[in-house]
């Protein structure tokens, strides 16, 4: 009896510990404001790295001096929210990373990036960040403009059609 009871207690104890373990794994306390700010800063650091790469900071990405920003200021007409989609240059449905590499290899005549490397993640992060808030529409053929107003600082950006905004 004793040993039987002992086994029962042990079994109950093991289940309890198991449950406690499971609960403690799942019930992580919410991130603090400081942690969230830190995580967001990590993202913005990567976005900033992407911005630099977009404007030519990695010489391996180009042999003719051209950078992404030459044709895509403010990531305009890069349309990250429309990927994956059919890309006629590639002849397949492709993610944005493949399109980025196509641009690096062809118009920029450079060396393709590792598709899962830090530089590629940064380029993607920059483009997606400028298009944040846009509706995700994979395959959309028509370009959707980015919203640099949210991301940019500096001189006025809203056109009046005639004069200069102040």
């Amino acid at each position: 009896m004793k040993s039987k009871n002992g086994k029962v207690y042990l079994a109950v104890g093991a289940v309890s510990i198991g449950l406690l373990g499971a609960v403690s794994l799942r019930a992580r306390p919410p991130f603090t404001e400081a942690q969230l700010a830190e995580q967001q800063q990590e993202l913005l650091d990567v976005v900033n790295h992407g911005r630099d790469l977009w404007h030519g900071s990695n010489p391996e990405m180009s042999t003719n001096g051209l950078a992404c920003g030459n044709c895509h200021p403010d990531a305009a007409a890069s349309n990250p929210q429309t990927f994956p989609k059919w890309v006629s240059e590639i002849g397949d449905v492709a993610p944005m990373r493949e399109m980025i590499n196509w641009c690096i290899v062809h118009p920029q005549n450079g060396k393709a990036l590792d598709v899962s490397g830090k530089d590629m993640v940064a380029l993607e992060a920059y483009a997606f960040y400028l298009y944040r808030g846009q509706k995700i529409e994979p395959g959309l053929a028509m370009p959707t403009p980015p919203d640099p107003v949210k991301s940019g600082v500096g001189f006025p950006h809203k056109p009046s059609g005639v004069g200069v905004d102040k």
Partner: protein
């Protein structure tokens, strides 16, 4: 007569070898007709009909045999093949990419193959490495005016910014790099500034209101998309000085795309570059739908080219001369400006 001219013009364009068949057809029905009308038009108000060409924004790198060298040479061949021959060629800025003297020298050499005389104004990519020293040495003054067959032409330097580099301790290369980035907020808005406004006032003082005026600047003389400096800060003052004229035509580079606007007595048209096309900025505007097709990145000639402008007493018609078939039907007939 018109058929003969059409055939001759098409043959010349065929020799230039830069345009697709669809573009030829468009020229035959639209652009050529316009040019023929110009040739047969009677002289009015002392204006003798003529045409000129615009080449712009070649962004030459220092690298030998760069694809942009070839693109500029193609534009030169395209313009040389125009019939009737143009009276002169206007270059509206950004010969160089990084403001280097070797890039400007290379551009001048390629442009020297033009059969017609060349007039030039600077762009920001030509200027901010040495503040125009090399450019001035090669191309002379950046502010000028002259009369041609009854039309008054003006060239201004519209890319002058406030000094952002001295306080920041920037080197000339850093200053240039800042200006090279279209969407950089550091440099702030461009303008022609006080000295050139004074020049303009004096220059047009004695001209009669009926004199047709054509003004060249690198950036548009209206507020298109200031974030990319698709604007000129003191354009309102320029338009005020030119308000007395019956008609003013403003022609500019910088935007690397077809664009048109009209306000008051001024019509404005932007030019295709020879280097790369820029996407239209994220703004909605009410003027006529003059956008070109979205360019195909796999076609290295799509969305680029030169333009011819025919002028008579009634104004001017801008005909885009794309390397590839980039134009929508609206644009293929030319823009009356």
């Amino acid at each position: 007569m018109s058929d003969e001219t059409d055939v001759t013009r098409r043959r010349f364009l065929g020799l230039a070898g830069n345009a697709g068949l669809a573009t030829f057809a468009a020229r035959a029905i639209g652009v050529n007709t316009g040019l023929i009308e110009v040739l047969s038009a009677a002289t009015k108000n002392g204006v003798q009909p003529f045409s000129f060409a615009i080449i712009t924004d070649s962004h030459l790198f220092s690298i030998d045999n760069h694809k942009f060298d070839k693109a500029l040479a193609d534009a030169v061949a395209q313009v040389n093949a125009l019939t009737p021959a143009v009276d002169f060629v206007m270059y509206t800025g950004d010969i160089a990419q990084n403001g280097r003297e070797d890039q400007l020298v290379k551009g001048k050499k390629i442009l020297s193959a033009l059969k017609a005389p060349l007039k030039v104004i600077p762009g920001e990519h030509d200027w901010y490495l040495d503040m125009g020293k090399a450019w001035n040495g090669l191309f002379g003054k950046e502010t000028w005016s002259y009369d041609h067959k009854g039309v008054h032409f003006i060239g201004l330097n519209s890319i002058l910014v406030r000094d952002f580099w001295t306080g920041a301790g920037m080197t000339p290369v850093e200053r240039m790099s800042t200006m090279e980035m279209l969407e950089s907020p550091i440099a702030g808005p461009w303008g022609v500034r006080d000295a050139q406004l004074e020049f303009l006032k004096k220059d047009v003082q004695k001209l009669s209101a009926s004199t047709p005026v054509v003004i060249f600047t690198h950036s548009p003389l209206w507020d298109y998309y200031p974030r990319w400096n698709f604007q000129t800060e003191d354009a309102p003052q320029i338009r005020e000085i030119l308000a007395k004229f019956d008609h003013v035509t403003s022609l500019h580079g910088h935007v690397h795309q077809t664009i048109y606007n009209k306000f008051g007595n001024m019509s404005s048209a932007g030019a295709l570059s020879t280097s790369w096309p820029w996407p239209y900025p994220p703004v909605k505007l009410d003027y006529p739908g003059s956008q070109m097709n979205q360019s195909d990145p796999a076609n290295t000639k799509d969305g680029m080219g030169s333009q011819s402008v025919s002028v008579d007493a009634g104004g001017a018609t801008v005909a885009y001369e794309p390397f590839a078939n980039s134009l929508t039907p609206f644009l293929k007939d030319g823009l009356k400006v």
